[in-house]
């Protein structure tokens, strides 16, 4: 029926292209963070994660990055489960976490060219300078990381996003990218994201501040939070509390 096999593999593509999560359950230590979470993000889409503190926004982003594994449920890219090919997934994603990974001993441009080099990009240093220009940090490019302010470090970290075109790394996972940024930088970030989406890239980000993302879906993670059984939580609290209280910390 499908002589070249293309009918089988191509048929689901329009419906499932992009990133999808189904029945996702996240367990952090003894705590069930969320359960039954699902979404579908098509190419060019943006997904804004909202929810109160501790609702699991960061945990979800780490699951999507493959930094931790879901307790159960399915994550898929273009219909293929992520667990089938973690190496390919690592290459197509860019993760910006809470920590900026800026080495105090290296200059901004050196910090950035390390990541460009590890991605196997040719001419890491000119690329790094270009990416720093995209976040308006050219003037501190040769300053060691220890002299950068919190907002500038954040921008150096965000500049990693500008290193490669959307085709090479279509998925951006940003954990509160707007914290510590001034208003101009937030606008520049929004522009960076808009350009990425126009090229077919997609963005999942968590944020508390308003970031202008036209046509973005919003996912309230706290809707999937699991309120644990009264007895069960009590038991866990006691288990954790007892040794903690007796412990001597210097």
């Amino acid at each position: 029926m499908f002589p070249d096999g293309s009918g089988i593999s191509a048929a689901p593509a329009p419906a499932s292209a992009g990133l999808a999560a189904r029945d996702l359950v996240c367990l952090r230590g003894p705590r069930l963070v969320f359960a039954g979470l699902h979404f579908h993000l098509p190419p060019g889409g943006a997904l804004v994660l909202v929810g109160h503190n501790g609702s699991g926004k960061s945990s979800l982003l780490r699951l999507l990055a493959g930094l931790s594994r879901p307790f159960s449920g399915l994550l898929s890219w273009d219909g293929v489960p992520l667990a089938d090919d973690p190496d390919a997934h690592r290459i197509r994603l860019r993760y910006v976490g809470h920590q900026d990974a800026v080495k105090p001993a290296l200059t901004a441009v050196e910090n950035l060219s390390v990541w460009a080099g590890l991605d196997g990009l040719p001419d890491p240093e000119p690329r790094a300078r270009g990416a720093l220009a995209a976040v308006d940090l050219s003037h501190v490019a040769d300053l060691p990381g220890r002299y950068l302010s919190a907002g500038q470090k954040k921008r150096v970290n965000l500049a990693r996003l500008a290193l490669v075109p959307a085709v090479a790394a279509p998925l951006w996972l940003l954990d509160e990218p707007a914290t510590a940024l001034d208003r101009d930088s937030v606008a520049r970030l929004a522009l960076l994201i808009a350009r990425h989406r126009a090229e077919g890239g997609m963005v999942v980000l968590s944020t508390h501040s308003a970031l202008d993302l036209p046509g973005a879906q919003t996912l309230d993670v706290s809707r999937f939070s699991v309120v644990a059984d009264e007895d069960e939580t009590d038991g866990l609290d006691e288990d954790e509390g007892a040794p903690g209280a007796g412990d001597v910390t210097p």
Binding site: Y95, G97, Q99, K103, L118, G120
Partner: protein, 221 residues
């Protein structure tokens, strides 16, 4: 491979810019050995007899001293997360960090060893075998220690836990290394001991990056 070399260059650059770690290991090594004549007394024969063991144990301690920072800084500032997401894979990242650790702390120990051997009155014909033994032992220390360093990552008081975890694993290396030098000094062949050390090194070089990567993955989860 170029990516791997780039990562190695980053590690070396960081180590050289922050300088203190590498210099501290060598200084500790030298001071540690120099303490022995003060404690034991300046009897040349006694010192010559204990020289191989003292140098090996001091090298072991010096290597241990710098191990707890091996992954700590990258873990704390989020670099380790990004390294684990790089196309290299965590095994290659671990291998690069272990090699860098040896280049920064192990190699200087080997270079400082002849001077210390002189202090301790080690017979001159023991020098080549001492250097050869250290060349096989110090990478082994970095490799085994790296696994321990990754395992204690994120643990409270990891710096205290690490020696307790790693020291027993150093024992085989120490036994064969000391035996190699002793037998060479007594005119026997050091070959069997060196072969055993080489075997340990080959095994550790294969398994340590895998074990380190697995431990790092657990720490990041």
């Amino acid at each position: 491979m170029t990516r791997w070399l780039r990562l190695l260059r980053r590690e070396l650059r960081l180590a050289l810019r922050q300088g203190a770690d590498a210099a501290m290991a060598v200084l500790f090594f030298v001071l540690c050995v120099v303490m022995f004549p003060f404690g034991i007394g300046p009897e040349p024969n006694v010192l010559a007899r204990i020289a191989p063991g003292v140098i090996l144990v001091a090298a072991l301690l010096a290597s241990l001293l710098s191990l707890d920072r091996l992954f700590q800084a990258d873990y704390e500032d989020g670099s380790l997360e990004l390294l684990s997401l790089s196309p290299l894979g965590l095994e290659a990242v671990a291998a690069a960090k272990l090699v860098a650790h040896w280049l920064v702390t192990g190699l200087p120990l080997i270079l400082a060893a002849p001077l210390l051997a002189l202090f301790l009155n080690l017979p001159a014909d023991g020098f080549p075998i001492l250097l050869l033994t250290l060349a096989l032992t110090t990478p082994l220390l970095s490799l085994i220690g790296g696994v321990g360093s990754a395992l204690t990552l994120g643990a409270r008081r990891g710096g205290v836990l690490l020696p307790l975890l790693v020291m027993p694993l150093y024992v085989p290396a120490l036994i064969f290394a000391a035996a190699a030098i002793d037998s060479a000094l007594m005119g026997h062949s050091a070959r069997p001991h060196l072969l055993l050390l080489g075997g340990l090194l080959a095994g550790a070089a294969t398994l340590a990056p895998l074990g380190t990567a697995a431990a790092l993955r657990a720490a990041l989860d």
